[in-house]
């Protein structure tokens, strides 16, 4: 690693109005796009194009283009988490299809996933530590990722780690340092709140869709009435037109909510789970140390070797804690920026929605201002 975590964090500690990434310092630009269906004898899956442009010296070239499938992203993320157990690694979009969708890969699903994958790699590239990970570099550059995937900690060693983790969690933690206790509480509260906001937003979308359904019948009824009338035909058609245009605006508003606010909230719902996992891993690291430390106190056999192990674990705990503390404030700023931007965008869209509708109804009023009698008088006066 080029620098110590804490100094990196200092470099990236955000002021209030600063852009999340200084345009001058960003040297890694990644896009995820162009989903394409890939058919083999066994399965069908989607490949995404991952394009990279960089000026970093660690990269042999300045441009790369590779194709990756969802599994590859999963691989990358689990590698990153393994290497940095107490760093907050941005979550991936969900693996499984939401209930209610018939087709496994319909266009909306692919599009949503593609955008989330794009955000994922960009979050990694913005991370002061993770963006320099070897696995990340491989992910961005290797034409054949599959061969590299077979290397690295095997299945069994990963199993071993899990078993240890479970064992330690069963044993429980002696005492959690207060700052991490506070962090735990925050994470649980945050998880609740962000889930609530997500649910409220989904409900708003549902209600608006039902509102839209009714509006679609409302306009045509005015048109139907207009067909019966003479003098009233024109104003009735006017109102029908207004209702129809407001319906379109409503449709756009729903679309905006689904495209902007929902994905942002959803990501942070997943983040909350990531945070919990990070906290659990930190706890486990501490528990492992404590377990060995206790063993050291009780056994008299092979103290030296055990002492070395215990010292190693103590260092590990300290490092894990520092890394987490550093990453924690980076994450909070990032969360604040992302959600602030999503909320602002939503508010702006709503203002725009009402402004458009206002204009529609005002122009109708204006059209009613000129009565046929008045118009005739104007014509008579002009002639």
């Amino acid at each position: 690693m080029p620098n110590s975590p804490s100094s990196m964090v200092n470099q990236y500690r955000l002021e209030e109005d600063e852009e999340p990434q200084d345009a001058n310092t960003k040297d890694l630009f990644i896009t995820v796009d162009n989903p394409e269906s890939h058919v083999t004898a066994i399965e069908t899956f989607i490949m995404y194009r991952v394009g990279t442009k960089t000026t970093r010296s660690e990269f042999d070239s300045s441009e790369y283009e590779v194709r990756r499938r969802y599994q590859d992203f999963l691989w990358l993320r689990s590698r990153l988490e393994e290497s940095h157990p107490t760093l907050i690694v941005h979550p991936l979009p969900e693996k499984f299809v939401m209930k209610g969708m018939v087709e496994r890969f319909n266009d909306d699903f692919i599009e949503t996933r593609k955008k989330a994958l794009h955000r994922f790699v960009n979050k990694i590239s913005e991370h002061p530590i993770l963006s320099f990970s070897q696995h990340f570099k491989l992910f961005l550059t290797a034409q054949d990722l599959a061969s590299h995937r077979k290397q690295g900690p095997g299945f069994l060693s990963r199993m071993g780690e899990t078993v240890r983790a479970v064992a330690n969690s069963v044993r429980g933690l002696r005492s959690r340092p207060e700052e991490f206790g506070v962090m735990w509480e925050y994470v649980e509260d945050f998880s609740n709140k962000i889930s609530s906001v997500d649910k409220v937003t989904q409900r708003i979308i549902r209600e608006q869709k039902e509102h839209l359904d009714e509006l679609k019948q409302y306009g045509p009824t005015y048109t139907q009435w207009a067909g019966l009338e003479e003098e009233l035909e024109e104003p009735l058609k006017g109102v029908a037109g207004c209702v129809e245009r407001c319906s379109k605006e409503t449709e756009e508003q729903i679309h905006h909510l689904s495209e902007v606010l929902v994905p942002a909230l959803h990501e942070y719902v997943l983040c909350a789970e990531t945070l919990k996992a990070v906290m659990r891993r930190r706890d486990n690291i501490q528990a492992e140390f404590e377990a060995k430390n206790e063993a050291l106190a009780s056994k008299k056999v092979d103290q030296e070797a055990l002492q070395e192990e215990v010292d190693g674990l103590a260092d590990r705990v300290e490092q894990a804690n520092n890394v987490l503390k550093g990453d924690w404030s980076r994450w909070q700023d990032s969360m604040r920026t992302d959600l602030k931007s999503a909320f602002i965008s939503t508010a702006e869209k709503n203002v725009e929605y009402y402004e458009q509708c206002l204009a529609v109804w005002e122009s109708f009023l204006l059209s009613q201002k000129e009565e046929p009698g008045e118009q005739k008088e104007e014509e008579d006066a002009a002639s």
């Binding site: 209030e16 925050y186 509260d189 945050f190 709140k193 962000i194 609530s196 906001v197 409220v200 409900r203 708003i204 209600e207 608006q208 039902e210 509102h211 359904d213 009714e214 509006l215 019948q217 409302y218 009824t221 005015y222 139907q224 009435w225 019966l228 009338e229 003098e231 009233l232 104003p235 009735l236 006017g238 109102v239 207004c242 407001c246 604040r336 959600l339 602030k340 909320f343 602002i344 508010a347 702006e348 709503n350 203002v351 929605y353 009402y354 402004e355 509708c357 206002l358 109804w361 005002e362 109708f364 009023l365 009613q368 201002k369 009565e371 009698g373 008045e374 008088e377």
Partner: protein, 438 residues
Amino acid sequence: MMMADPGSNEEVAVIGNTDITSTELENNIINTMVERGTALLRKMEINVAEAEKRTGKNTVNIQETYTVYLIETRPAEAVPDGGTPATPDTLWRRYSEFELLRTYLLITYPYIIIPPLPEKRAEFQWHKLSADNLDPDFVERRRVGLENFLLRVASHPVLSNDKIFFLFLTEEKGWREAVLETGFQDKVDSRLKSLNAMFRVKNPDKRFTALKQYSDELNNVISQLLRVRARVADRLYGVYKVHGNYGRVFSEWSAIEKEMGDGLQSAGHHMDTYAASIDDILEEEEHYADQLKEYLFYTEAVRSVCRKHELIQYELEIAAQDLAYKKQQKEELVTGTVRVFSLKGMTSKLFGQESPEQRESRMAALEQSIQEGEEMVKDKNKECQEFVRTAWEDIERFKEQKDKDLREALISYAIMQISMCKKGIQVWSNAKECFNKM
């Protein structure tokens, strides 16, 4: 005010001012009626000022709760500056008395489109509104509707001169007896006949046929519009109210955040404001629904004028048919041929010729009958023509009124939508400011 004079500056001002509330616009419509200047309205101002709950024993001696409405009348004089208006004369009427008045008018002026009463029971409600007749909001809207009814009658060129109507406004006791004394009940049967009977008119008047069809179609389309509007209102209510949940959650969330806390909390307040604003918005829209409902009920009045005309036309045709038959009988009697079957004729054939005296008397009776028949046809014809003339006069008046009122209703609806949009812009701009502070 919306007057017939198109060059008036005031007219432009009314439409141009998008800040005018819908109740103000409704008052404009009512004021227009007043300014139309019937003799009655030049004399007096009419208000339905209050509503009150009463309990009492009804005709079958059962205790019931009902609402009474206070009718105020005062001389329509200009009040000098600084002077107080004269205290009004007042009396109380309950809904059933309004119904009696209207029935009287329906029967006494069958060629007039009688203004409708507000609905007895709440219909076309979106779910939040109460369908309870004793609910204060419903009672209030009904009060406005009853006042509207009285003003419509008072501004009608024919109806405003009716004595019973005048007594309704001025004589609390003894009014019911006065109505019954007119004997209008006797004509009720005829009216029932016209409404319920299935008779065929041979030569229907095309204008009335077209009018009846229009009235039926208008009834359908306004019903549908009211139904859909209620559903739209329901859904809109849901959208706004769910935003109230943002208010609650943002507030709770702000408690655990440092930098974001203030922005979130104040944004939450605006979400609460947004959620609360829908109540007033939809209450105002009820006025619009009431305006549509009035014309929905008007279609029934139009229909009954058409039916009455059909009945008169039918009676004329029957009378003409009857006369033709009698004339034919006379012809046969004169020429001795029997084309029309008559029992007397047959029996005289069977039992021998009638005597010249018998024949004379039969002829005289027929002549008499024919004369009566001709009178009947003449009368019926006159009745029919008179009905058609007076009815079409009122129909033209009604059409003009309808076009004007409904156009204004649509304009007031647009103004309501604009007001709602302005509120929305305000709230979300404020919320955006708060989010900016996060």
